[in-house]
Symmetry: C2
């Protein structure tokens, strides 16, 4: 059986002692005021306030003793400290939360100060994101999109097999799970005349992604070796790269996606660390052709993370599952992505976000966006008692991700957003 905490962790919880994902929370507005944002880890149905743990002097290892990293309103300072500090935090937290350890368990006042029920908090964006990159690393997604728009013969361009294709996304509009998404307005392809369509997007979509959160960065001009790349990655989040397909298709030649993506990108509140994911590491797909030396890694792993997308239309009582995929399907690993991004000398900074690209799997039921699921609106997808080609106003899109162990889960919770109507 798994590790045992004195905090109640229900069976199937995403947040047992083995996980301890990091986020930033605020107590919900109360008469007492005190709504400053500070770092926490999740345990069962509680958040553990790391500023309170630090204040109580419980971080007593060499890296964290006396550090103010948990008094910050974001995790960036902690991210910058690197793996030795992360390991130390994990071991301290697993110790003070364990069933055998009295320091919190038997100190009512301190325990109440440190452990706050999730129902009493609001999660906020856990990181300050300097730059956000979005990759394109699922071969199934690349093949499907290519087939749709260029035909099966030219589906995947030859560069795709040689490097993890990516583009820069918009960091200002990355929002936390639960934030409503206003349907964007913009130009779409001309429909029967030479004037483009203008108005609310008619092809609003989700993209099932995960993103790596960068820990220590690198200096401009100093690439990160692929075999050290894991030390620069703190953990992973769920990410919905909302996409307006009509806007995207019309604008993207020749410089790529822009307004079709920049209106909102949602991430989950909890960052699951690579340390917590390690038991779920699995061999990544064999790459053919072999990658160039700077992308050839000694440890070529993905993580076995089951992913699910549900849609809850406005008038439905329950969400309906529309796809099931897995992070392990990615052709290019996060370490290869990170090494590639820096090979030209580009500098990463703590808190930078590396999106995986849409995570489609090989089966028809494992496609990561409506564009693929409905083959660009040529088919309809059933959603409970309704059906969809693209998203409708009022739809709530819910991602969930979980590593399923024998005795416990290491989960990501959910990443959600509801579609609001466009501005008039």
């Amino acid at each position: 059986m798994g590790l045992k905490s004195f905090v109640d962790v229900s069976e199937g919880s995403h947040f047992p002692l083995e996980n301890l994902p990091y986020g930033v929370f605020r107590r919900k507005a109360s008469s007492e005021g005190a709504d400053v944002a500070r770092p926490a880890v999740a345990i069962g149905d509680y958040v553990l306030d790391l500023s309170a743990v630090a204040e109580a002097g419980l971080f007593d290892g060499p890296h964290l003793k006396g550090s103010t990293c948990f008094s910050e309103p974001s995790l960036n300072k902690f991210l910058e400290m690197g793996r030795p500090a992360w390991k130390e935090a994990r071991s301290t937290l697993q110790k003070i939360l364990s069933a055998d350890e009295p320091v919190l368990r038997d100190n009512d006042a301190l325990r109440k100060k440190c452990l706050v029920p999730m129902s009493e908090v609001e999660m906020v964006l856990p990181i300050v994101i300097g730059d956000y990159t979005d990759f394109f690393s699922s071969i199934y997604h690349a093949r499907n999109c290519g087939t749709m728009f260029r035909g099966a013969e030219n589906a995947i361009a030859p560069n795709w097999y040689q490097l993890p294709i990516a583009y820069h996304g918009r960091s200002s509009s990355v929002v936390i799970s639960g934030t409503d998404v206003i349907r964007p307005r913009g130009q779409g392809p001309p429909m029967g005349s030479s004037t483009p369509y203008f108005g609310p997007s008619l092809k609003l979509d989700f993209e099932l992604e995960m993103a790596a959160v960068v820990g220590p960065g690198n200096e401009l001009g100093k690439p990160i070796d692929v075999n050290n790349a894991a030390d620069h990655i703190f953990g992973l989040v769920l990410m919905n790269d909302w996409s307006a397909r009509d806007i995207q298709f019309w604008e993207c030649v020749p410089l790529g996606p822009f307004l079709g993506k920049s209106f909102s990108t949602t991430i989950s509140p909890w960052i699951v660390t690579l340390d917590a994911l390690e038991p779920f590491a699995c061999q990544a797909p064999t790459q053919d052709p072999e990658p160039l030396p700077y992308l050839a890694e000694k440890t070529h792993v993905n993580y076995d993370i089951s992913l699910e997308v549900s849609i809850k239309p406005k008038d439905h009582n329950e969400p309906s599952i529309v796809t099931k995929s897995n992070f392990k399907h990615l052709y290019w690993t996060v370490t290869q992505q990170l090494a590639h991004q820096t090979i030209n000398g580009c500098n990463l900074r703590p808190g930078d976000l590396l999106g995986s690209g849409t995570i489609s799997g090989p089966e028809p039921e494992s496609l990561g966006c409506l564009l693929e699921l409905t083959w660009n609106a040529q088919k309809t997808l059933s959603v409970g008692k309704s059906s969809r080609k693209f998203l409708e106003d009022g739809d709530e899109v819910i991602f969930t991700g979980c590593c399923k162990g024998k005795d416990y889960n290491v989960g990501f919770g959910t990443c959600t957003g509801r579609v609001l109507p466009a501005l008039p």
Copy 2:
């Protein structure tokens, strides 16, 4: 004749009393220490330390009195305050620097505290850049690139005439003028085999651009009207969007430029305000087809800014001019760019950078990058006693930009960078 300051402003100076561009400086390392970065304006061969001016209580208008915006290490806080504060600062500074005004002129101690010779300071990046966007707004540049790679018939895609095409660039690697640029390594197209080239870029280029610096931003979901867009733009800088053409060409299908651009982008230290540029406003090119209503602006202006690029090879004593262009050639104006960028609800933040795209003019001598000047290395360009197809190690690239009035200039100074050899 122009305005007269008690500070000596030589004829032809870029920085007379009519200009007063903003930057952030640090005194060069000295025994006294005191090398904290703070805002300044340029006047003649001096920088005027705005923190010292504020400390002396000379900002006495309603917006700036008591404000700490000039005690910051960047201009972001001042940018956020908007045009009323900018106008007030300009009028205060033009007054206290004028030949008739004794407050600084006749106070030796205060004058020495406030006015520092440029030779004694180092300029630093004046803004914290959240997101950096690069547009593609010169029709000459778009047509030349299109002709080179897709033939004259398909040179410009139909979307280009309907919207200001753009992509997100990398904000972490935006550097200040004078910073060396290490030749990036990366993948290029396969040459005679199926394996891509890997190594130092063989096609390193400059791109002659200017960039708009965003003042007050907008909330996510709330587009900025094109007719209010100018109030969200603080000013302009010179920008060199260094480009590795081989890396760019190989990677850019289907998601656009990435590592071919993200290794360095250089901006000039001085931000010239729209207020200082106003006398040089000129009608922007007529647009055909007419832009959609959200891009149709009442005041459709560019600025008449003469631009020059010189290259100084390592073994040359003098730089040689390689191109002369003008900001007024841009088809899409900065206000249209800004309105377009927010039409989908995307939020801008103070300090965001909107690059113009390569500013090529109609004549062969006014092309804004080596790709065009040498037609992708099919021709050679003479550079003094040498010649170039693309940049060589040791080359210094020098941009300069200036509005030439009858009695005075409003100039941008220079934007420079020297190419260092790639990592081994």
